[in-house]
């Protein structure tokens, strides 16, 4: 009897083994995936730094002696300093309205907020040229009143805000929806004012999600190329952001300088990635679940 029920007498692969690939297959698949990522993703990043330093440190630093480089850095910081806070306020307002209340047409509103993600960067710039360009809808009116939007800071900010529009909102909406309204309702019932509830209950609940979205929003705002390129007019020292300055240097065959300035943005990208990963590892429970990025 005991012979029959002995587990050894039944020759069967362990489910854990049968439900996975063999060690060799695993090794090969990991190898292919890692090689592919190294070739397609990591090598370009690596190339930015090697090219920037290919003529030595002195040549690298020379790129930052140029006043045009500094005006590009200043412009990029200015644009991000306007676009990111704007997106924070918008994201907080949108997620508050959408997550804390029930109203018809909510799905449509979320889709419309997401819309800029599916528009080509070049088209995102084009739509403002069609409005504010010299032959645009408001072109003559703007010229008559001496208002410059295109080929100036307002145009660059508008294009940047357009391409980053969904960043904060699409992180905060699902996060606030997951958290529901019970805590806010409890605080309100206990007599707290609306603003007080927002500051002491809602904001602490969403702080990591907010920081996460600000990081990504800032990276895009500082790095945006297509949309800004269309509306900036490429005036050296005036309307060139860092990415546009990189383009100009590259097209002038000034490769070391182009890659040196580009390495600033590459470092920014690396910092963004590291902070983003840290947030994902440490505070996964306090970020929106199942983000589609």
């Amino acid at each position: 009897m005991s012979e029959i029920f002995s587990p050894i007498s039944v020759p069967m692969a362990k489910p854990a083994q049968a439900a996975s690939e063999g060690a060799i297959t695993r090794g090969v698949l990991i190898g292919i995936a890692v090689t592919f990522l190294a070739l397609f993703l990591v090598l370009p990043l690596f190339a930015v730094f090697t090219q920037a330093l290919s003529k030595g440190i002195a040549a690298f630093l020379d790129a930052f002696r140029e006043p045009d480089a500094w005006s590009a850095i200043r412009l990029t910081l200015t644009v991000a300093a306007i676009a990111v806070p704007f997106n924070v306020v918008l994201g907080l307002a949108a997620s508050w309205a959408i997550a804390k209340f029930e109203f018809p047409g909510k799905a449509l509103l979320i889709t419309l907020i997401d819309l800029p993600f599916s528009v080509s960067p070049v088209v995102s710039g084009l739509i403002y040229v069609l409005l504010f360009g010299s032959q645009g809808l408001f072109g003559t009116w703007l010229i008559d009143h001496g208002i410059q939007i295109l080929f100036a800071l307002p145009g660059i900010v508008l294009a940047t805000v357009f391409v980053t529009f969904p960043f904060v909102a699409r992180e905060l909406i699902p996060l606030m929806q997951e958290q529901g309204t019970a805590e806010e309702e409890a605080a309100l019932t206990l007599g707290a004012s609306g603003l007080h509830v927002f500051r002491t209950v809602t904001l602490p609940n969403i702080r990591w999600g907010l920081l996460y979205s600000v990081l990504l929003c800032n990276a895009r705002a500082m790095g945006e190329f297509g949309a800004v390129s269309v509306v900036s007019g490429h005036i050296r020292g005036l309307t060139n952001t860092i990415p546009l300055h990189v383009e100009i240097l590259y097209n002038e065959y000034n490769f070391v300088a182009a890659f040196a300035v580009a390495s600033l943005l590459a470092v920014l990208a690396l910092i963004t990635l590291v902070l983003k990963s840290v947030l994902e590892w440490r505070f996964a429970g306090e970020l929106a679940h199942g983000r589609a990025h």
């Binding site: 592919f36 800029p116 080509s120 070049v122 084009l126 739509i127 983003k276």
Partner: protein, 284 residues
Amino acid sequence: MVETPRPRWTFRRPSVIPGFGISFGYTLTCLGLIVLLPLAGLVVKASGLGLSGIWNVATDPRVASALRISFGVSAVAALVASTFGFLVAWVLTRYRFPGRKLVDAAVDLPFALPTAVAGIALASLYAPDGLLGAPLARLGIQAAYTPVGIFIAMVFIGLPFAVRTVQPLIAEIDKEIEEASATLGATRIITLTKVVLPPLIPAVLTGFALAFARGVGEYGSIIFIAGNLPYVSEIAPLLIVIKLSEFDYGGAAAIATIMLGISFLTLLAINLIQAWSRRRFGYV
């Protein structure tokens, strides 16, 4: 018995939470002024040309060739990105190996790296004398200044979309189903193709569509490596920029409208796939 009066219909369901008016109003105002109004301007401009006007632009040989390159190369690149994206997602969720978290973080690199930086880096790598361009040239493949270069850039920017749409679903697969399949005598290959893969197909298709849409609209990472030769390696977004620099607003708006139209159809396809997937499998 007192009959409770039927509540008056209100736009939003009553709630004790304050601030709906201001947050909703602010969101709508920003959305309208910054996103919807300018996009409407594009539609107005394009409709001014009429269907025949748009058709004339679309059939101009240079425009037609740019559209063909943008959509054609992007389809191939999205196919490669979603194939390798699936493999990467599988390896990252199913296997444990040293450096896995680092590799996982690296997948998002194309999201974080500005497109212009990626563009010049790819151009220098794949130039005929570049680190990867030289070996490819010996194999008889010229990458830079050809559609191959466009393809490489599009795979680069499309990959994260392909990985990140499939990854959460692979993580959610119930391993017991695979074990059941194995216990019932299925080989690993049969289990993978008949049990594991079918529910993942909608996500793979979604990832493909996202990578495709991104590739079609992409500009910064492509123009440096593409060389931008008309009829050979000129993409549609670049042609918009060229039309604008020639003050041909109508032509630019027409190309943009065609691109938006096709992108809209792609988005529609994604939604249909997801709706179908919800009916078929009960989740997205």
